[in-house]
Amino acid sequence: MIKNKFKNLKTHKNKIKFIFDGKTMFGYKGDTLASALLANNINMVGRSFKYHRPRGIFASGVEEPNALVEIIEDKNIIPNIKATTLELYEGLIAKSQNYWPSLKFDILGIFDLFSNFLVAGFYYKTFKWPSFFWEKLYEPMIRKAAGLGKVSTNPSRVISEKGYLFCDFLVIGSGPTGLLAALILGNSGKSVILMEQDFVFGGSLNRDNPIIDNVSSKIWKNKIITRLENLPNVRTMKRTTVLGMYDHGSFAATETFKKESVKKQYQILWRVKSKKTFLCSGSTERHISFQNNDIPGIMLSSSIREYTNRWQLKTFKNVVFFTNNDYPYYVARDLISRGTKQVSIVDVRKEIKFSDPTISIYKNAEVINTKGKRKIEGVFIKAKNKPILFLHCDTLGVSGGWNANIQISTHTNEKPVWNEQVLSFVQKKISKNSNIKCLGSADGIYELNDLFINTKKEVFKYLKTLNLKSKNIDLPNVNTKETYNIKPFWFVKYGSDRKWVDFQNDVTVKDIQISYKENFRSIEHLKRYSTLGMGTDQGKVGNIVGLGILSEISNKSIRNIGTSTFRPPYVPASIDAFVGFTKNKSFKAKRLTPSHAWSKKNNSEFVETGLWYRSQWYPKKNEINWLDTVNREVLNVRNNVGFCDVSTLGKIDIQGKDSLEFINKIYCNNFNNLSIGKVKYGLMLREDGMIMDDGTTARLDENHFIMTTTTSNAEKVYQHLEFCHQCLWPYMDVNLISITDSFSQFSVAGPNSRKLLQSILDNSEEISNKNLPFMGFKKIWLKNGLSAKIFRISFSGELAYEISIETQYSDVFLEILEKEGKKFNLSPYGTEALSVLRIEKGHISGPEINGNTSPLNVNMLNILNFQKDCVGNILFQRKKILNNNLRLVGLLSDNKIHSGSLIFDKDMKMNSENELGYVSSSCFSPCLGKYIALCFFSGGEKYFGKNIIVKNFLKKYKTFAKICSPVFIDKEGKKLRV
């Protein structure tokens, strides 16, 4: 007799208080919510999905289909948590689900009465007509009745992080197989990680309590664990559930931490990469289908054993087992040794080797029905050639056999094979090079002695293939041998219906028969038509039963039917784990400009451009409307001087003796005439001839250039340049370095821009019109001794400069600029004003470079150089591109124009055939006092002066506009050269 070590733990110190359905109860440290509920004689824990039948705790682990509860913490509700894996903690508040108004008296239980109509295919057949009822009536109705738990919209209190682990060997599962395998692997000296989803190690040892090497399994297990924990190359992890297997030996696993009370719950999503993985996930018992086999009090026989041995429950006083194999006989012995008075076994087999006077055995017999609604009262038994018998009981344990838990090994499409001896799917055809190997009962080896022999053999064999050695370990000797002797038996023929196969989705034998009748006969069709195995338990207890039933109905062997595909996650995983830190404001990293702090101080509103936070405008205290702010900023640039942070534009430093040749191959216009100290506009094409980006490139020296790109294309252009260098022209001696972050860049624009800049320079003559003409570049020194680069380029069309100064000096530069700027009415301007200024000037930007425009469309055909090899200039010459007659024009209107609007002739019908073009950019022009836009129009310049309709179908808006030149301000470009 094994001493009840666990009994000693049931002291006052380890008592835990919790609340279930409003009632306060007590359990002990080491309990799950399920074991505590059973100990408190709670049997009904929920209502089923479809028929709202009373349901109880069915299993004792991740395979649990019924006991899904919701946990309530503050205002937060977490639904659909399995009571059988929820580790009990002080202050837990849990509630059963899926009923109204109470668990005991559920109005929707009425669905059960209509079960004849709610069979497989019900939704497809019933809610067909009339079709307009779907949106208004059917869908809302089904939604309300559907689902199990409620979802809370309050922020979760789970704190998650991501993690990355690497090892030579990953062992999944810490039962007898996993422990032995981990020890042998650990002794080889290579790195080993052992992952166990439960909060204690041991797996089936905790349930079956075998005697190994003449000691209790607990002592044996603890010896191994101690040895493992003393190996520095072995890492053991509890509460760590492997969710799935992915390519190249990578796995996802979630690790949770012991929750002492209602505090924050921590969680890690691990990505594990292992060279070889051993799946020691054990096996899961399945049930047998018969009439009314789903009521509270009916459980897997292995779960009864686990509640008795692991959690010392004494609530099973009068137990009946229904079985097709030997396992329940051993469970019966455990029950009796712990004080259960009455145990009976109903066995479908004719020949049984057991004859135990303390157990009532019914051979060649079946359980054909049960009595009881909210708790089982008894069973109806029919033995062959004998009359129906009624047996009272408080618990019914079912045992239909064991399924090897191979699911994770099938995630990368390895198909398992049905083994007729053990009646389970196993991985026999797995390729030698495959990263994963199943061991122990996960490989269909159920008897413990055989399991140890096989595990030791396989692991040593594997190590030998790698030329690795491991210390020899004595084979553990199992003193309590347990046999199997299974006979295939899937469902009881007696009785017409109400024989459950999948408890969670309320799928019965009748549903499978209907699916088959309606020709949904392949396993994949059966699954989807009947929803067998589609619940959160992924059919762990019912799938194979369903498969067996299909096999009998169709007279096809299970081997030929096969199994449906398993996909990660192996058990439900909270989305929290995948989100981790990246939620709410931290969803993406924020990229801040050098002037961010200054802008914030000056009341700027920010806009997100990709990851960048850019200043959109700088409202003054009296400005209520953003348009007033933007108009003021624009006019101030046109009349005085403004400055804008343009650091976000990509800056690429290009150096090397082949730099010029390289740049000439990247831009479609000629760059051979760019001399030192000059800047040139560059148009960059994709290989298909469409515009990729535009910018300017300055020549600092013979072999030194700086290229700028638009903000949003900076990464893309850099990748493109590296592609061209490394993949197309690797012989070129050129180096590309991104300096976007190293240098801050500010545009200073307006008629007073030169005067302002001269006042902060050491030598004001440096930037006179003669010494720094339009499109020139120079290195300059500020009065405080700092050096900077100055480019005389203009996006706004005014006299303008861009100053590039090392980022670490941006604060002091802004200080100086602000101080000296007061004399000239300097004010900052943001991206909105920047946009208005360039639209007024007819400069193309992001909206015009939309991927569908070629140089021809933006009136730049004349700058293309066809004499040289450059990206895009060949495919640009395709007929379709050359014949495209869209040209960039301007639009002028008294009313607002929206970007994306379509252009139509006044006299034609507004349909897609008559579309004449579309608006790419639009704004209000304070300089003209009108609304303006840039637009691609069929025909271009010869239509200047024509009135057309601008129509926006989405906004249901229409206005008139006049076609004009896209350059609204200073067509001759006089201001630029002043």
Partner: protein, 193 residues
């Protein structure tokens, strides 16, 4: 020309973000960082000149080498970051000038933020930061990888409980927040191990 007293306040001094018995987390002041990308066929000349100027050999792939105030990081094939104290810039420039025909040089000092993590929790932190088996790398390694969606450099010595994280300066606030989060998380769960 450079003036240390004119640098942005946010990078002028070290800032201690967190200090406890098992972990210290500091945002460092500005570092001097120059990038060198060797021109075709100049490798040998560059190596020799480098040894002459700094008395230091270039590091191997994904490694760093260090001597006194100079640290050299391998960034990519034929490309290195040379790091030092910012206030040594004047002296440094003189050495840099000897390389102009051998490599393309850019001053990256203002472009990077540097974070310093030291303490016994370093190992547990690293396994939550980078998806790299850093234990298989050399003793002194530079790891360029994705962290919080951003390309960062991790400078790690296997035998010391010190780690440096370099990120583009525009992301420094976000990276600081993310690093602090990982540190606080690790501190909170470490008692469970």
């Amino acid at each position: 020309m450079f003036k240390y007293n004119l640098v942005n306040k946010s990078v002028a001094k070290d800032k201690i973000i967190l200090k406890s018995k098992d972990i210290t987390f500091i945002k460092k002041k500005i570092k001097l960082i120059y990038s060198f990308s060797i021109y075709n066929g100049q490798s040998t000349k560059f190596k020799n000149n480098f040894k002459k100027q700094f008395n230091l050999s270039l590091p191997n792939i994904s490694e760093y080498s260090k001597l006194d105030k100079i640290t050299v990081l391998w960034i990519r094939d034929n490309s290195y970051f040379v790091c030092s104290d910012f206030n040594l810039k004047k002296k440094f420039e003189k050495s840099v000038n000897t390389f102009y025909s051998l490599a393309s040089i850019t001053d990256q000092s203002g472009g990077w933020a540097s974070f310093f993590i030291e303490g016994s929790l370093k190992k547990m932190l690293l396994e939550k930061m980078i998806n790299i088996d850093y234990n298989k790398l050399s003793e002194k390694s530079v790891i360029s990888t994705s962290f919080y969606g951003i390309r960062c450099l991790f400078v790690n010595n296997l035998n010391i409980n010190k780690l440096e994280v370099l990120c583009p300066i525009s992301f420094s606030d976000s990276i600081e927040k993310k690093l602090l989060n990982v540190i606080n998380f690790t501190k909170a769960v470490q008692s469970n191990y």
